[in-house]
């Protein structure tokens, strides 16, 4: 018996109906969390979550599990801090063990430009409720003794911002916790059900076509990751989104030793150690769009080279598995949540490399929007219409390693 085998959850599957009040396309974290909050906060339980594969089979099952709020603009910091707060009570609320662990995150700076960014990050984050403090190299070393402050002789550490509340949780378990919570309230989760089109009544979207038949809906929410353009095309909806591969790898399990999460903008890499002792290492998304989940050796070479400059103790660890997710990256690197301009169709997309950490906030706020018809203040900046009105959320800080 392994202590990390799931022993608490019960997933209850239902036979599909032909009509629901809300149909959510995509059984990942965002889709299931939205269903969960619709059911638990707003009493809306006549809901189906339609998943093409198995729940969590997309990016929810492929990310590097980091939860943080240290973004570059107030709108993002507040949103992600809300998410971080919801995460910290999720185990209590759902009775599930998501393996949540607050670790803190060190964001390293090697140049004056990076120092300037990190100082700014600390001031803005703290002002918006996400405690982040600047630390000097010695303090960084005290937090993470394995750090090579010379950066392999090439990337000397000038300082770091320390985002105190950053955490990790096991990605699959987050998905299952929301799935179980929603299912218990009567939400139907339909696996292996590929959406092939949208039902239309004039301009209005009235449901989804699936390989297993049509399903009518009062409201349809697209919560897909990686294939949002395909869904949007069904409604002739144009999106400022490109789909990019995001690669990561994990080592074998080793004795617990790496305390905080380490991240680096210049070297495009981040590392944390899982509860099972594996080092989980990720990077920035690939520059070219692609729907391929094939991993590349170029990535492994580059990422291992960079990360071992900072953390030389990783050199002798063995790489267990490398994988790739595909993520929808918006034109301003911020998510797109809310109305689409197409009646009956809502959207949550553009989560890029930061969708996992947004699951509780994205789900709860989207549920509030669906239930009340009003866009919650935290979501207001993230509407699709911001592009036409030239009010992009230029948070270049929102990418994976920034």
């Amino acid at each position: 018996m392994n202590e990390f085998v799931e022993t608490l959850l019960d997933l209850q599957w239902h036979e599909p109906k032909s009509t629901y009040d809300v149909v959510i396309i995509g059984g990942g974290g965002h889709g299931l969390a939205t269903a969960y909050y619709l059911a638990t906060r707003h009493g809306i339980t006549n809901v189906a979550v339609v998943e093409a594969n198995y729940i969590g089979s997309g990016n929810s099952g492929r990310n590097t599990t980091i939860i943080r709020a240290n973004y570059g603009i107030p709108e993002s910091v507040r949103f992600y801090q809300h998410s971080l707060d919801l995460y910290s009570t999720l185990e209590e609320e759902t009775g599930c063990w998501i393996m949540h662990a607050t670790k803190g995150l060190l964001w390293l700076a090697h140049t004056e430009t990076a120092m300037r960014s990190e100082r700014a990050r600390c001031l803005l984050n703290t002002a918006c409720g996400a405690e982040t403090v600047m630390v000097d190299p010695q303090a960084a070393k005290a937090i993470c003794p394995q750090l090579d402050l010379s950066g392999g002789g090439r990337y000397p550490v000038l300082g770091a911002s320390h985002h105190v509340g950053a955490a990790t949780a096991r990605h699959d378990r987050v998905v299952w916790a929301y799935a179980q919570g929603a299912m218990r309230m009567g939400v139907h989760v339909l696996q292996n059900t590929q959406v092939t089109g949208l039902l239309r009544d004039g301009e209005r979207v009235t449901g989804v076509q699936t390989a297993n038949g049509n399903i009518s809906a009062g409201v349809v929410l697209s919560a897909v990751g990686g294939n949002v353009t395909t869904i949007a095309n069904h409604a002739e909806l144009r999106l400022p989104v490109r789909t990019h591969p995001l690669q990561a790898f994990v080592t074998n399990g080793y004795a617990q030793s790496l305390g905080p999460i380490i991240s680096d903008t210049e070297l495009f890499c981040y590392v944390s150690q899982t509860a099972r002792g594996q080092m989980l290492i990720g990077a920035e998304f690939d520059p070219q769009p692609s729907y391929s989940t094939q991993s590349s050796f170029n990535f492994l070479q580059s990422c291992t080279s960079k990360v071992t400059h900072l953390l030389p103790f990783l050199k002798n660890l063995r790489i267990l598995r490398q994988w790739t997710g595909i993520c929808d990256v918006s034109a301003d690197f911020s998510p797109i949540i809310g109305h689409t301009g197409v009646d009956g169709l809502l959207i949550t997309t553009g989560w890029g490399t930061w969708g996992f950490k947004a699951i509780p906030a994205g789900g709860s706020l989207m549920a509030e929007l669906i239930a009340t018809g009003k866009t919650p203040p935290l979501l207001e900046p993230f509407g699709l219409d911001r592009f036409a009105s030239d009010q992009a959320l230029a948070d270049q800080g929102s990418t994976g390693t920034r």
Binding site: N227, T229, T230, E236, R238, L239, P240, V241, R242, T243, P287, Q288, P289, S290, Y291, S292, Q294, S296, F297, N298, S302, A331, F387, A388
Partner: protein, 89 residues
């Protein structure tokens, strides 16, 4: 390894190139000029399938070329210095 073929320099690992984006298109169904402009500057076709796109060989000749790539498999079907009207597959 992902490889691309530069028409001037030959086959090289993808890290030697910069991605320059697909050729932007605006659907004919959009007729309002302002909406067309919004679409042109912000929206992406984001095709799951064969795209025509620009790559710059920054580590070599420092010239652009046009490639056709299947974004589902990452297979590069054609590279050439021809323009986007080239339809060789």
């Amino acid at each position: 390894m992902l490889w691309l073929t530069c028409p001037i320099c030959g086959r090289r690992p993808i890290d030697e190139f910069s991605f320059g984006g697909e050729f932007p298109t605006v659907p004919d169904r959009i007729t309002d000029p302002a909406t067309r402009d919004v679409d042109y500057v912000w929206m992406f076709d984001n095709i799951a399938g064969v795209t025509t796109e620009r790559w710059f060989h920054h580590a070599g000749c420092r010239r652009w070329h046009t490639a056709r790539r299947d974004t589902i498999t990452d297979a590069v079907l054609h590279t050439g210095i021809e323009d986007a009207t080239d339809t060789v597959l």
